[in-house]
C-alpha cells in the first residue's frame, strides 16, 4: 500500500508531465517562427525590404540576380482570387443544398462523401490538372499553353470546394430550429426563410468557412506548382502562366546553395506566407467566436 503522500506526488507528476507535453504546439509554432526569421531576414541585408516586396523581377540565378517578389505575390493573388470565385458559390451552395433541401437519407449520404472528397491529396488534383484539364483548356480556348493562372485557379477552386462546403454546413446546422419555425410561422416560404433568416444568422460562420478556404488556397503548394506554368512574370491576363509564392519555394529550394541570398530569399517568402495565413487564421478565429456568442452557443 502506497502512502497518501506518495500517491499525491504521483498525481502531481502526471499533471506536470501533461502540462509540459501540452506546450509542444507552442514550441513548434515558435520554432517555425524563429526558423523563418533567422533564415529569412538575412536576405534584407542584400536586398532592401521594399525592393524585395515591390521589385518587378525575379531572376534569382542571373548575374547580377534580381530578387523582386511582386510577380510571385501577384501570381498567388490571382490564383487565390480565382479559386475563391469558384469555391465560395459552389461550396456554400452545396452546403445550403445539403442542409436545407436534401432529405434525411440523401444528407446522410452526401455529408460523408463531401468529407471524403476533402481528403483527396493535393498532388492528385495537381496531376489531374496537368494531364487532363490543361490540355483540354488549351484546345477549347485556343491558348498557346494550357498551364495558366486560370487552370490553377480552376483546379484549386474545385479542390477547396469540399472544405468550404464542410465548414459552411457545420455553421448552417448550428442555426437553431426555432429561427426557422418563427419565420415559417409568419408566412415566409422556404426560400425566404433561407435567404432572410438562415443565411444572415449563419453569416459569420460561413465567413469563417470562406476565410479558411482562402487560407487553404493561398498556402496550397503542389497543385499550383504543377498546373500554373511557373513563369515568374507579372500576369496581365488570367490565361498566362504564373508562379505563386508557394510554388517558387517548392521548385527552387532544391537547387539553391545553402546560405546564399537566393536560399534566404526563399525563407523570406515563406515568412511572408506564414504571416499572411497567420492573419487569416486570427480573423477566422475572431469571426467564429462572435458567431458562437451571437447564437448563444458559448465556449
Amino acid at each position: 500500500m502506497i502512502s497518501a503522500k506518495a500517491r499525491r506526488l504521483k498525481e502531481r507528476m502526471y499533471k506536470w508531465g501533461f502540462t509540459i507535453l501540452a506546450f509542444a504546439s507552442l514550441v513548434f509554432l515558435a520554432g517555425i517562427t524563429i526558423t523563418l526569421f533567422l533564415e529569412g531576414l538575412p536576405v534584407f541585408k542584400e536586398v532592401p525590404f521594399l525592393k524585395f516586396i515591390a521589385g518587378k523581377y525575379w531572376y534569382p540565378t542571373y548575374e547580377p540576380p534580381e530578387f523582386g517578389i511582386l510577380p510571385l505575390i501577384l501570381g498567388s493573388l490571382w490564383v487565390t482570387v480565382g479559386a475563391v470565385i469558384i469555391c465560395v458559390p459552389l461550396g456554400v451552395g452545396s452546403a445550403l443544398f445539403i442542409n436545407e433541401l436534401a432529405g434525411k437519407r440523401l444528407k446522410a449520404f452526401l455529408k460523408p462523401i463531401v468529407e471524403l472528397l476533402a481528403g483527396i491529396p493535393s498532388i492528385v488534383y495537381g496531376f489531374f490538372g496537368m494531364v487532363i484539364v490543361a490540355p483540354l483548356l488549351q484546345d477549347l480556348l485556343n491558348l498557346p499553353v494550357g498551364l495558366t493562372a486560370f487552370t490553377g485557379a480552376l483546379i484549386l477552386g474545385i479542390m477547396a470546394t469540399p472544405t468550404v462546403c464542410s465548414i459552411a454546413e457545420d455553421a448552417l446546422s448550428f442555426v437553431p430550429r426555432s429561427f426557422r419555425e418563427a419565420s415559417f410561422a409568419v408566412g415566409a416560404n422556404r426560400w425566404q426563410t433561407l435567404t432572410r433568416v438562415v443565411l444572415p444568422a449563419s453569416a459569420s460562420g460561413i465567413s469563417t468557412a470562406i476565410i479558411l478556404g482562402m487560407s487553404r488556397a493561398i498556402g496550397e503548394t503542389m497543385t499550383v506548382l504543377m498546373v500554373c506554368g511557373g513563369a515568374a512574370v507579372i500576369p496581365h491576363t488570367f490565361f498566362q502562366p504564373v508562379r505563386p509564392m508557394t510554388a517558387t519555394i517548392a521548385a527552387e529550394m532544391g537547387e539553391t546553395v545553402m546560405g546564399s541570398t537566393h536560399y534566404h530569399s526563399l525563407f523570406a517568402i515563406g515568412l511572408i506566407l506564414f504571416i499572411i495565413t497567420f492573419f487569416f487564421n486570427v480573423i477566422a478565429e475572431l469571426v467564429s467566436r462572435r458567431f458562437r456568442i451571437k447564437l448563444g452557443l458559448g465556449r
Binding site: 508531465g17 504546439s25 507552442l26 520554432g31 523563418l36 483527396i120 503542389m222 508557394t246
Partner: protein, 283 residues
C-alpha cells in the same frame, strides 16, 4: 416576381451547385481509376523501378510512404493525446491555456510548404538528420499534430461528466480516472482521428520535398536515416523530371490510383467508425 417562382429558381441554383461539385470531383476519380487501373498489377506494387523510370514498379515508394506514416504517427500520437488530455482534463482557464489553444489553431493553418522549410532548417540542417525518413516523419508529425489534438479533445469532451464523477466518488484519483475510465471510453473517437491523420500524412507532398523524398533509390529503404521514395512525391517527380514523359505519365496514373485508394479507404474507414459510434450514442 412570384414568391413560388423565386423559390424554384433559388432551389434550382443550389441543386446546380452540388451537381457541378460532384461532377468535377467524380470526373477526377473516374479518370484516375480508369487510366490507373490498366497499369496496376502485383508486379507494379512490389517491384523496383527499372530502365530509367519507364518500367518496373513503385514498391519502394509504397514502403517509403509507410515509413513516413509510421514515423509521423509514432511521434505525433503521444504528444497529441497528452496535449488534449491536458487541455480537457487538467487545464485551468488561464492565459497560458489560451496561448496553447491559439498556437494549436495557428499551427493548423500554416501552409504545408512552410512546414517543409521548417523541417529543412531544423531537422535536416540543425539536428543533422539529413534528408531522411526521420526528418520527413518529424515534419509530417508536426503537421498533423493539431488534427490529432482536436480529434482527441472532441472524443474526450464527449465522455459524460457523470463517468468522471462516479470514478472520483469511489475514491479513484484524477489520473486513475483518466487512465481507467475516460481514455477507454474515448478511444474509438481518438482512433478515428488518428486514422484520418494517417490519410493526410500519406498524401502530403510539400513537407517532404526537401526533408525526406528522393526520385530514385536503388532498392527498398533500409532505415529511418535513409532517403526514401514516397508515392505523392513520385507522382510529382514522374511528371516533372526524366526524359520519357509518355511512359512516366502511365506510371504516374498508377501511383495516383494507389494513393487515391489508400487515402479514400482510410478516410472511409474512419468515417464509418465514427458514424457507427454516433449511432450507438444516440440509440
Amino acid at each position: 416576381m412570384n414568391k413560388k417562382v423565386t423559390q424554384n429558381i433559388g432551389f434550382g441554383t443550389l441543386f446546380l451547385c452540388i451537381a457541378i461539385t460532384l461532377f468535377f470531383l467524380g470526373s477526377i476519380i473516374y479518370f484516375i481509376v480508369a487510366r490507373g487501373f490498366k497499369v496496376l498489377s502485383w508486379e507494379f506494387l512490389t517491384s523496383v523501378p527499372k530502365e530509367a523510370m519507364t518500367a518496373g514498379g513503385v514498391g519502394p515508394a509504397i514502403v517509403g510512404t509507410v515509413f513516413l506514416v509510421i514515423g509521423a504517427i509514432v511521434f505525433a500520437l503521444p504528444l497529441g493525446v497528452a496535449s488534449a488530455i491536458y487541455l480537457t482534463e487538467y487545464s485551468p482557464k488561464s492565459f497560458i491555456v489560451n496561448i496553447i489553444r491559439m498556437s494549436i489553431n495557428n499551427l493548423a493553418g500554416v501552409p504545408s510548404v512552410v512546414f517543409g522549410l521548417f523541417g529543412f532548417g531544423i531537422f535536416v540542417k540543425f539536428f543533422g538528420f539529413g534528408v531522411s525518413a526521420l526528418s520527413g516523419s518529424l515534419t509530417l508529425g508536426i503537421l498533423v499534430l493539431p488534427q490529432i489534438i482536436s480529434a482527441t479533445q472532441e472524443a474526450l469532451i464527449a465522455v459524460p461528466q457523470s463517468y468522471r464523477e462516479a470514478s472520483l466518488a469511489v475514491g479513484a484519483t484524477h489520473w486513475q480516472t483518466i487512465k481507467n475510465i475516460v481514455l477507454p471510453s474515448a478511444s474509438p473517437g481518438i482512433l478515428t482521428g488518428v486514422i484520418l491523420s494517417i490519410g493526410r500524412v500519406a498524401g502530403e507532398t510539400a513537407p517532404i520535398l526537401f526533408t525526406a523524398a528522393t526520385f530514385y533509390t536503388r532498392g527498398f529503404p533500409k532505415s529511418f536515416f535513409s532517403e526514401v521514395m514516397a508515392l505523392p512525391y513520385h507522382i510529382y517527380a514522374l511528371m516533372t523530371e526524366g526524359t520519357h514523359p509518355e511512359q512516366q505519365t502511365q506510371i504516374a496514373y498508377g501511383c495516383a490510383l494507389i494513393l487515391l485508394i489508400l487515402v479514400l479507404s482510410i478516410s472511409a474507414a474512419a468515417i464509418i467508425i465514427r458514424q457507427r459510434q454516433r449511432g450507438a450514442a444516440e440509440a
